[in-house]
């Protein structure tokens, strides 16, 4: 049993500490008491109401588990389903890992700081659950593991902590969906994620958010990539949310380690998204790419990117493209920081509208103006992600397609 008391004491000092960016949220308005839910077996998963299945599907989680290597499903504060179907890949609720596995102490709060802000503090003070997904050395994911954090109770503060470990030479693919039930409109999700990509391992992590109008979301993620490792981090959010703020950070700590982060965000009216990606390139041969595609239909989107080159012979690129379709704001904040001679870093940012010339071109091929516009938007959102398994690419495309009606 891991003694969390020192961490809890430390967290207590930061309970009122505001985050450096993003609107400050009064956590007092949310309920944190655990909400019991029945455990679901495989048949139970399939018997979920259609409406709920649809909500899950829009976040990339398929209850039929077709082409999935395992499932983790947390409803409110309770883990209702958790299993791995593949040898060499473990899926464990984090509370169980803290109780039973001694090795967890090498990972828990080792990258993220418990006293970073009031959200990290709150998640430790009142941890509900979360997942540990671990690929053993040399294990290769055949199908992605799906993980879902679901909010069902109105007004709940969901505190989760996730740890993802890709051991040496392993290959792990995860699709994680966060969603709310059709009747839950208000709540807050606080999620800590720590990623460990060891020597020559490959991790692809695809997160699809499907929130509701009055949801507040504060993920806190930090990753560490060792020699020859690859971390692919994809993020898709096409749905309204009251306020979402996250700035996941990746440390490339081994030679030739690579990080690629791709975000696709569609901003709805009355929604505020402050998202970005930060990568520290610390060893020679490091490569990083941070790519964001944002569209606003009246929402406020702040798209950040920050690359820090600490040694020579590193290469990094930042790309932020935004389209304003029906009002709103796209604020691109690209930052490059080269600390020595011999770094190669660049950025490309553009905010604008759909080119009339492209619409006309498509119309001359027979499409109506609306069809032409949606074709261009779909193209804009479709980013080629090298190294992403075709299945996951298909999931991203599906998420885009399913919410296309809301985009137009």
């Amino acid at each position: 049993m891991y003694d969390r008391q020192p961490l809890i004491n430390k967290a207590a000092t930061a309970l009122d500490k505001k985050a450096p960016i993003g609107p400050d949220i009064d956590l007092g308005q949310f309920e944190q008491t655990p909400v019991p839910h029945e455990h679901l077996d495989d048949a139970g998963l399939l018997k979920l109401p259609e409406e709920e299945k649809q909500q899950l599907l829009m976040a990339g989680v398929d209850v039929s588990e077709r082409e999935r290597g395992g499932t983790f499903f947390q409803k409110d504060t309770e883990v209702v389903h958790c299993k791995s179907k593949q040898e060499g890949i473990e899926v464990i609720p984090i509370r169980e890992a803290l109780e039973k596995h001694d090795w967890i102490k090498d990972y828990y709060w080792k990258l993220a700081s418990v006293d970073a802000d009031k959200y990290t503090a709150a998640s430790e003070m009142n941890l509900h659950n979360g997942y540990v997904i671990r690929a053993l050395p040399g294990a290769k994911s055949i199908y992605p593991i799906q993980a879902c954090l679901y909010l069902d109770k109105q007004g709940l503060q969901q505190n989760v902590h996730n740890i993802i470990i890709a051991e040496e030479d392993s290959e792990l693919h995860i699709i994680t969906g966060c969603s709310t039930s059709p009747h839950a409109t208000k709540g807050i999700h606080v999620g800590i994620s720590e990623f460990y990509i060891k020597k020559n391992a490959k991790l692809s992590f695809t997160m699809i958010h499907n929130w509701a109008e009055d949801m507040v979301v504060r993920p806190r993620s930090v990753a560490q990539v060792e020699e020859g490792g690859l971390f692919l981090n994809n993020y898709v959010c096409m749905k309204p949310v009251r306020s979402l703020q996250m700035y996941p950070t990746t440390h490339l700590v081994g030679e030739n380690a690579v990080a690629r982060m791709y975000s696709i965000i569609v901003g709805s009216p009355d929604s505020e998204y402050d998202v970005g990606g930060r990568v520290y390139l610390k060893k020679k041969g490091n490569r990083a790419e941070v790519v964001a595609r944002t569209i606003t239909n009246g929402g406020r989107i702040i798209s950040r990117g920050h690359l820090i080159g600490e040694v020579a012979d590193i290469k990094a690129h930042l790309e932020c493209k935004g389209l304003i379709l029906k009002g709103g704001l796209v604020y691109a904040v690209p930052e490059l920081e080269g600390h020595v001679d011999g770094v190669e870093m660049s950025h490309e940012a553009a905010v604008g509208k759909i080119a009339q010339e492209e619409i006309n071109y498509l119309m001359s091929r027979g499409l109506s103006e609306d069809e032409a516009t949606s074709t261009i938007v779909r193209g804009f959102l479709s980013v080629d992600i090298p190294g992403l398994p075709p299945q996951l690419k298909a999931e991203i495309d599906k998420a885009i397609e399913l919410s296309e009606k809301d985009v137009m």
Partner: protein
Amino acid sequence: MLLIEDLQVELAGKTILKHIDLEIKPGETHALFGPNGSGKTSLLMTIMGYPQYKVTGGKIIFKGVDITHSPINERASLGIGMSYQRPPTIHGLKTRQMVEICAAKREVSVEGLARRVNFQDFLERDVNAGFSGGEIKRSELLQLMAQNPDFMLFDEPESGVDMENIALVGNTIAKLLQKDCESTDQKSRLQMKRERTKMGLIITHTGYILDYVAVDKGQVLYNGVLSCSTNPREILRCIGEVGYEECVRCTIDNL
């Protein structure tokens, strides 16, 4: 049939086409000559329906329908199609998807069509992204093959095409315009010629295209005015000998 009567067009407040009269009958293809800036592309864009080309007088009638003020896509569904000289890149839209858009509900084999213009290797690339001049031409022809319009506008189809591909481009246009007729057991050449329905209007500077496509008539556009309408070879020879300056005199004599 395409019928243009006394067409007058403005672009950004400036008159760029003046009193254009043009008739293209079913089965006919015309070549359009003229110096740079004379209004050739503007005429094509106006026929296609680009809204920045403002029609201030006259009308355009296609298949008996007055399309003077119709939106682009309505003209496309009536059967007008265009091969552009510098089409825009659409990021994230694969050439394959573009060909499927052109085919609309018709069943086509994208691979089969692509093979005909040697373009199989480009199907998974974003449409027009980083294409060379010649590649753009082949991509445009591929799209037209899928779209199969009745009246086709070609904006300098041979420019930027290397000598190796010029025959490919020329023969593909001939096929699109049903100018490639070979006599078969069932039909004589004359019969096939009579059954031709496709119409074309081709902008050309060099006239190379005339070696591959039997063009019925040549038109010269000079300073926004159609100044000459005669045998395309004769026009080409005249331009070669005395240049477009002669068009000024011809225009005056025409009045």
